[in-house]
Amino acid sequence: MDEGADGAGELFLGIETSCDETAVGLVHAGQGVEGEAVASSAGKQDRYGGIVPEVAAREHVAVLPGLVAAVLQQAHRQPQEITAIGVTAGPGLFGALLVGMTAAKALAVAWGRPLVAVHHLEAHLYANALSGPIMFPSLALLVSGGHTGLWLWRGHGDLVRIGETQDDAAGEALDKGARLLGLGYPGGPAIERLAATAEGPGPRLPIGHIRGGSPYDMSFSGLKTALRQTVERDPAVNAARYARSLQEAVVQALAERVDRALDAFQVGAVYAAGGVAANRVLQARLTAIARAHHIEAFVPEPRYCTDNGVMVALAARHGFLAGARLSLEQGPRTPWPLGTERL
C-alpha cells in the first residue's frame, strides 16, 4: 500500500454506481483496505437480456446508504475519521451515477467532509495502488466491459491516451462470444473456465487491424461474426475449443499492442485493470512481455479488477491530495474521456 508523503492518517471512502454494481470501499493510506461491500443488479438485469439503466438506478437507491453503513461497521470506523469521500462522477449510466453522487453529497454535507469526483476508468487503474506506489512513467492497459485502451501514465492525474478500441470493448467481445456459445453473463469468466478445458488450440479467429490509425488502436467487433462463421463451418469442434479461440484472439490483440508500446516508450511498469484483466491467460502474456522488456506487469486481485468501491477510494486519495473537489452543483459527467489525446 502506497504510504504517501503526508503520513498514514488518512481514511478514504469510495462510492461507485456507474453501472449495475453498487460498491463501497474504505481505504486507509497506511493500512490498506478496511472495508468493502458490493451489491449487484446483474441478477435482475439477466431477465431483460442486457443492462436496463432504470433497473440499475433503482437498485442503487435501494441499497444506499445501507452499504456505507455496513462498510463503516466492518471497519469499526466513525464518520468523523473519514478524510474525504470519493464518488464516481463518470463515465457511465447517467441515472445510475446520479444516485451515487447524490448519496455521497448528502453524506459530505451531513458529516462536513470534503468530496472528490473520481473518473471511473482512472479508478480502475488505481486498484493497482494496493500492491505498492504506482511507478511513473508506466503503461496502463484498461480492459473492461465498456472500455478498452492504452495510456501512458506519467504521474497522478497525468495520462496520455495512445490507443483504444475503435468499436467493441474487449469484455464486450467476450460477453457477445459467450452468448453465441450458450454461456451466461458475464461471459469473460465463463469463457476462461471453458477454454481451460480445451484439449488443443481452437481454430484461429481473424482479429481486426486498423489501417491508418494509431498502431495501438484495436478492433473487436469482427470477432463475433468470425466466431459465428467458424462455428457454422466447423460444428464438430467442441465449444471449449471455440472459447479458447475467442480468448486467444482477444489476448493476442491486447498483447501485441502492449508489446509494441513497450518497444516505443520507456516506462517502468505495466498496469492492467478492468474486468478482463482478471483473465489469467492475459495476465501470463502481459507478465512475459513485460519481463522481455525488463520491467514488471501488475494486475489487481480479481475482485478489484471488476467494479468496486476500493478502487474509487484509492483514486479519491490521489484526487484529494491534488486538490480535486466535487462541487455540490456538479452533475454526472458522461461521456468523459480519460487523460489527454494521444501524443
Partner: protein
Amino acid sequence: MPRILALDAAAGGVSIALAEGARIVAYVEWREDRMAGERLLFWVRQIVGGASAPGGVAVGLGPGSFTGTRVAVTAAKALAWAWGVPLLAASSLQALAAAVPMGPSAVLSSTERRGEEVYIGRYFRGQSGAEALAEDSRWQLPNLPDMARRPGDALVVVGALAADAEFIARMGARTLEEEVGAARGLVALATAGQLREVDRFTLEPTYLRGPLILPRSAMSAAHPPGRELSNGGV
C-alpha cells in the same frame, strides 16, 4: 419545536423547506425539470448551514419523475442516517394536496405528465393535512377521474394538470394563482401527524410503473384508454 428538513423532487423541479413545527423558516423551489441532481444538496447545505442537524428529514416518495424522486429519496435517506435522525415520508401527491391553502376542498394533485398519461392523487384538504379519497394512480387522459367529493366542496387541481385548461374546465375545477411546492405540504403533513416513519436503509421511491419505458404507441395499444393503469412495464 423540532426542526424538520423537507425535500421533494417528484414534480420535476425541486422543493426544499426547513420548518420549526408548522412554521417554515426557509424555503427554496425550482420549477425547471431535471435540476434536482445539481440543486438539491447545494441548497440543503445553504439552508441548514452551520446550524445543528435538524431533528428529522421528510421526503416525498413520488410518484412522479423517476430521476427527481430518486435524487430526493437517496438524499433524504443518506442525510437522515448521517445525522442520526428519523426519516419521515409521504406520497408526493399527498404532499402537493397538503400544500393547498386549508379547505374544505377536494384536491386533484398530479405529477409528470407524458402525453396522455399522468400520475394523479385524490385528496380531501380539510383543516389539517390531506386525507386520501382514492389511491394514487397512473391515469390515462382524456378520461376524467371520479373525485367522490362531497357536494359543495370546491375542486382544486394542482401540479402537472393545472396547466391543462380544457381538463380543468371539464372537471369543473379551479386552479390556484400560485403553484404549490410539495415540501410545504410535507411540513403540513408533519404537523398533522400524517407522515410515517420509514427505514433509512431500505426505503425506495413509489414508481407506480415498471422499469421498462415502452414507446408511447406500444403503451396505448397495451392499455386501452379509460382505465386506471396497473403497474406495467415488467
